[in-house]
């Protein structure tokens, strides 16, 4: 069983809220739901739409063709009618004007009348809808419930959908990063608003008192990262969030984190670039930027989750590794992952716990003591020992130096961490393999959803998801490439950036590429069509 519902209207008409609510009701009924969100950079007007894919099996991507269109305006119908399957139906909220008049209340209630009609169509009990409405809108829900009932009573039962039941969790990639950060013991989140990472700032701001954390929006991204490093020096567990343009402003301080050896987690949500690009749309164009941002050489972590559950794990790993090895860690996401809702039977956290702070006060503490693995013992200002961090090259006490011996020693110290880091990352599944077959698809990040959903229909292909970009798991990637007859690269960018990284790291050049750079995410139908072109 699978149903695809497209919900659309002008910005401000409520297609995001409505689709989220409908998605939650289907989850409650035991279905798996994927909710894709498509909207322009506008507050009012334009055209917004969501695609809800509902299934009795797990789904991780949207589909192009739909079974139902829920239209809040005529434009939605004009734009999307061609995507409607043969037996598809269209429900229009603006048909309910007379019903709304009887109820009284704001125009937005037409959406709830529509919801009532939709679920009656699918033979869902009225009581379920009422209960879900009370859950979703705990305050002032009388009119909403009235509207749902009015819509319900307008239609007849047409179909009955059957699920396997069971609890579902419905969350976005943003939620995953938030949960991972809180579970890691986040203290302060610094961010300047920028799509698609603003939802994390909003989410964490709402949770401030509940989780005893602090969110702060300073004057610009440069302040964001420098304040975060100041707080990291002071012993707070910090994260910053931004997108490509904001990250560009941060890069000088990314290098500072590398030199000063201060833990810092950076949540980088990609959107369509270059420059201002297409702000509310997706892309994977910043992979090499994340890998190379910041002048000079220093080790870093770059990890790219593929769904919200992975976002929880990868965020926890980023915090753990960043604080243990005192290097910057970048969580590389994108608009598609950050703002789409995914459903899971359960969501888990990693058992990782960040290293404890030191308590025994040393006699002659040196902030940059050289050790076997390059990581110096850490104290924070106020604990006792004088703590000194330096953006200039320094000796082990943190004193500025131009001495060639110290310059070499300190570069070696910073890079001594790398083999230890690599060993640790090998335990975190830096790559994941899905399906069976002699041919191999390689991808990363949010394309995972469409690829995994397409696998059952493209026999002979398995999928290698690369999650750690730095340090790069080259042995694991090369091993899978060598085992494969044909290798196909799938990326949401123009030139195949992961392909370049693989070439640089392993010497293997991937010739077959499926690249999508129309600012839209992959969907299963598109991917399957493209894969066939490589199928001999």
């Amino acid at each position: 069983m699978e149903k695809v519902i497209l919900i659309g209207g002008r910005a401000g008409q409520g297609s995001a809220v409505t689709s989220n609510f409908i998605g939650k009701i289907f989850c409650h009924l035991g279905f798996y739901v994927f909710n894709y969100r498509d909207y322009p950079s506008l507050i009012r007007g334009g055209h917004n739409f969501n695609i809800l894919r509902i299934s009795d099996k797990p789904v991780f991507s949207q589909k192009e063709k739909c079974d139902i269109i829920l239209a809040f305006d005529q434009k939605t119908i004009d734009l999307h009618r061609k995507k409607l399957n043969k037996k598809g139906i269209i429900l229009r909220s603006f048909d309910f004007e007379p019903v709304l008049k009887k109820i009284g209340g704001p125009k937005i209630l037409e959406n709830d009348i529509l919801i009532g009609s939709l679920f009656k169509y699918f033979s869902v009990a009225k009581e379920v809808l009422i209960r879900e409405a009370e859950k979703e809108f705990p305050k002032d829900n009388e009119l909403i419930k009235k509207a749902i009932v009015a819509g319900y009573d307008l239609t007849k039962n047409k179909e009955k959908l059957i699920s396997k039941g069971g609890v579902k969790y419905f969350l976005t990639g943003t939620d995953g990063v938030a949960l991972g950060a809180i579970a890691s013991g986040l203290d302060i989140y610094f961010a300047y608003p920028m799509t698609p990472t603003t939802p994390l700032l909003n989410f964490l701001a709402k949770k401030q008192s509940r989780h005893n954390i602090l969110t702060f929006q300073p004057e610009d991204e440069i302040s964001v990262i420098n304040a975060a490093l100041g707080a990291s020096f002071g012993g707070a567990k910090v994260m910053v969030g931004t997108s490509g343009g904001g990250f560009a402003l941060m890069t000088e301080a990314v290098s500072l984190a590398g030199m000063a050896e201060l833990p810092l987690v950076i949540y980088l949500g990609q959107r369509t670039a270059p420059s201002s690009g297409i702000p509310t749309y997706t892309g994977q164009g910043d992979l090499k930027f994340a890998l190379n941002a910041g002048h000079g050489e220093f080790p870093r972590i770059v990890v790219a989750p593929g769904d919200p559950q992975e976002a929880i794990f990868r965020t926890q790993e980023a915090f753990y590794l960043s604080s243990k090895y005192r290097i910057p860690a970048i969580i590389l996401s994108d608009k598609h992952l950050a703002e789409s809702n995914y459903s899971f039977d359960k969501i888990e956290r990693s058992p990782l716990i960040s290293p404890k702070i030191a308590e025994n006060m040393p006699e002659n503490y040196k902030s940059y003591t050289i050790t076997k693995n390059g990581v110096s013992p850490v104290f924070f200002p106020g604990q006792g020992p004088v703590v000194r961090v330096n953006s200039y090259e320094h000796d082990d006490e943190g004193n500025t130096t131009e001495n060639p011996i110290w310059a070499e020693k300190m570069n070696d110290k910073r890079f001594k961490k790398l083999p230890y880091l690599k060993k640790e990352i090998d335990k975190f599944n830096p790559v994941s393999l899905y399906g069976k077959g002699k041919n191999l698809i390689i991808g990363w990040g949010s394309t995972k959803g469409a690829i995994v959903d397409a696998l059952p229909e493209i026999k002979n292909y398995r999928f290698l998801q690369v999650s750690y970009m730095s340090p790069f798991p080259k042995e694991q990637v090369l091993k899978e490439i060598k085992k494969s007859k044909k290798v196909v690269l799938v990326e949401n960018n123009v030139t195949g950036l992961l392909g370049d990284v693989i070439a640089e790291q392993t010497g293997f050049i991937i010739k077959n590429k499926i690249l999508k750079y129309d600012a839209r995410p992959f969907d299963t139908e598109f991917l399957i069509k493209k894969i066939w072109t490589f199928k001999n």
Partner: protein
């Protein structure tokens, strides 16, 4: 001179139990001023050019028990860091910002900064600087700084007393130190002749009078204008930290218990 006065100021405040050395931290930028990083044995962070104030704010946010003092140059603070300076004044976090104002980029051998006077030539092509100098005292005042002072590096007693007052002030305190660079911008004779201390009867809680005083000298040297030094303005306002609902402890001492079930409840169908 600034180094010595600062050391004495900190030592005297510590002796008087007004601050604790182990709870004191400094942040420096990039420029001649930043050499202070290597000459004081305090918790210290040598940061980036122009970014002293955000870094300093971060240090303060991480641990409310810390007394934090930032050092920047005039190029550092008013060129690349100008926007941070404005917002720091507005925000009134409990920070002290000390600017070593020599009106020149000396470490890069003599380029003009925002506080260089009109006609400044050294290391700069004719006709020299045509921009009007930025007036840091006026800028701090109109943006809400709660402690605004100017002092003179060659008047050690005044310098030390001003630093002590600034460090003790609760809220954002700004000290502009006139510190002539004897190599690239030697205006010592002008200052020796024209610097004068604010009158004993001067009332530093009068904003309009402070602003008027701030505008008395425009950071140029062509008119023989007198240069006032002293605390131009000081008032009490709620600090940034007081208005945040955060614990009074350093974050690293925060005990956390993660209740995963409760955290994930809102996503459950």
């Amino acid at each position: 001179m600034i180094l010595q006065s600062f050391k004495e100021a900190v030592a005297e405040l510590a002796d008087a139990n007004k601050i604790k050395i182990k709870n004191t931290a400094i942040v420096t930028g990039i420029g001649c001023h930043a050499k202070i990083f290597d000459y004081v044995n305090l918790n210290s962070f040598s940061g980036l050019h122009g970014r002293v104030l955000p870094t300093l704010l971060g240090v303060k946010m991480s641990n409310p028990e810390l007394k934090v003092i930032g050092f920047g140059g005039d190029g550092d603070t008013f060129s690349e860091g100008a926007s941070h300076f404005i917002h720091a004044c507005r925000r009134n976090a409990d920070l002290t910002m000390v600017v070593h104002n020599n009106q020149v980029f000396a470490l890069t051998v003599g380029q003009p900064t925002p506080t260089s006077e009109r006609g400044f030539l050294d290391g700069y092509p004719p006709p020299g600087v045509t921009d009007q100098p930025l007036n840091p005292i006026a800028l701090a005042l109109i943006n809400g700084a709660t402690f605004v002072a100017r002092t003179y590096a060659l008047d050690k007693g005044h310098l030390k007393a001003t630093l002590k007052q600034a460090i003790e002030h609760k809220g954002f305190s700004f000290v502009d130190i006139l510190q002539p660079c004897i190599i690239f911008h030697n205006v010592v004779p002008y200052f020796q002749k024209n610097v004068y201390k604010l009158d004993k009867n001067y009332n530093p809680s009068n904003f309009k009078a402070a602003l008027e005083k701030a505008l008395e000298w425009d950071y140029c040297f062509d008119k023989g204008t007198k240069v006032p030094i002293g605390v131009f303005y000081q008032i009490k306002k709620p600090t940034f930290e007081e208005q945040l609902s955060v614990p009074d402890n350093p974050w690293y001492k925060t005990e956390r218990k993660i209740n995963w079930k409760e955290m994930t409840e809102e996503f459950k169908s």
